[in-house]
Symmetry: C2
Amino acid sequence: MADTDDVFTEALQLTGTDSPHRVTGHTHPAWANMVGPFGGITAAVLLRAIEQHPDRLGDPLALTVNYLAPIADGPYQLSLNPVRTNRTNQHWIVELSQDGEPKTTATAIFGSHRDTWGDTEAGPPPAPAPETVQPRGTGFPTWLSRYDMRMVAGELPEVEGQQAASSTSTLWVRDAAGRALDYAGLAALSDIFYPRIYLRTGRLIPAGTITLTTYFHAGGAELAAVGGDFLLATAAARRFSRGFFDQTATLWSRDGVLLATSDQLVYFKG
Amino acid sequence: MADTDDVFTEALQLTGTDSPHRVTGHTHPAWANMVGPFGGITAAVLLRAIEQHPDRLGDPLALTVNYLAPIADGPYQLSLNPVRTNRTNQHWIVELSQDGEPKTTATAIFGSHRDTWGDTEAGPPPAPAPETVQPRGTGFPTWLSRYDMRMVAGELPEVEGQQAASSTSTLWVRDAAGRALDYAGLAALSDIFYPRIYLRTGRLIPAGTITLTTYFHAGGAELAAVGGDFLLATAAARRFSRGFFDQTATLWSRDGVLLATSDQLVYFKG
């Protein structure tokens, strides 16, 4: 473990107000991205805010985060709206703002799980054991150092203009401080991938996620079984067009449990 | 053309109020599903409401629709909130309610397109020409008759308990009245598939979409080129667990343009 400080949990610290529907938080320097914080930590903060709400029902099922504008270093305010609570599920709208200016919105669905027929139809990508793969170098942006990342396929191009035929990247990833996986951790990991456009064009074109949707397939026991171990994460784009591309991702436990599926739409400069 | 009435456009009729942020609509009997209207027509209505808003910027990029509760036959109210307008994109929150009770929420991102590098990395599924495939029988629920559907793979099980190894369905589909494709039409088509659980279990288990996210990859000229022609639509689930499954879908023009990618999370009774 390179780091024993649980800066993930620190970044998710929220302070209550006189209303359960309003809490405040603060950006954490350990999670800085090129502009504002890593999108994954923002997703995790929004999810955690709901998890801590006194009226919360069940576990996260789905989370859509819309990135409206960069979050400035400093405090932020969250407003939580439990729009509807049904017998087995609950729908939320959350907004993150700074000085009254909306920066991020999200909708989330929480709910109760039941024992039902189940099957995982997709399969994980091929990958050697994480222990046999070199850790990715850390550095800039800052948040990359928060994870122990072992690239299996689709590494960042090493030479400017080196174009890959496929936009697929696959990596083993775990919290660098050994923090055990939970839903907030999984929400953050669903945004772990660098922009697919880098891979296809071989250029570090300015790009940013504009919306991210994650479905949480894992039950609490499946998350607990992962603990601080590596996940296998894979992502690919299906179409790049007119300044945008999609990214579809799956996140797997080492023993092949599909923990989450996640999609995002990404803006890029042409 | 089986039908010359454009009941799609009829279902999207909205009436203004004294505020541009509030409009009213009414369910259309032609789009009735088993309980409430077809989820796709609801998605289309929410998108159309934004398209008609005087402050709307650009074209739809992404739409997430959350189905909170069944919509009753009758009138409904839409509240439209343009949360943030940037230089090239705009973020919306929309809520559909009946008698003050929230039934559907959505977030949408609209934006301007630019000429950029582009590529479609995914490919359409194999399919014979739609003219060589038998139209699907129509009937119950009512909205199925609104589409000319030609199943290529993954048809509804014909025998109770007949389990398919794959949850993939592929079909050609077009508006039965010959209506030309637009973004609202594409939003509706992203919900064209019957629940994947039917295919895997061979049983018509009660199931319903709880959240649907669609990314619109097509530009206006690509949509116009489709006109009233068939789209090729394919969908599959990746995991069924604890009362929920995901569905990931792609929608293609006849000549292989990836028009939209779409994901949803579906509730099912165990």
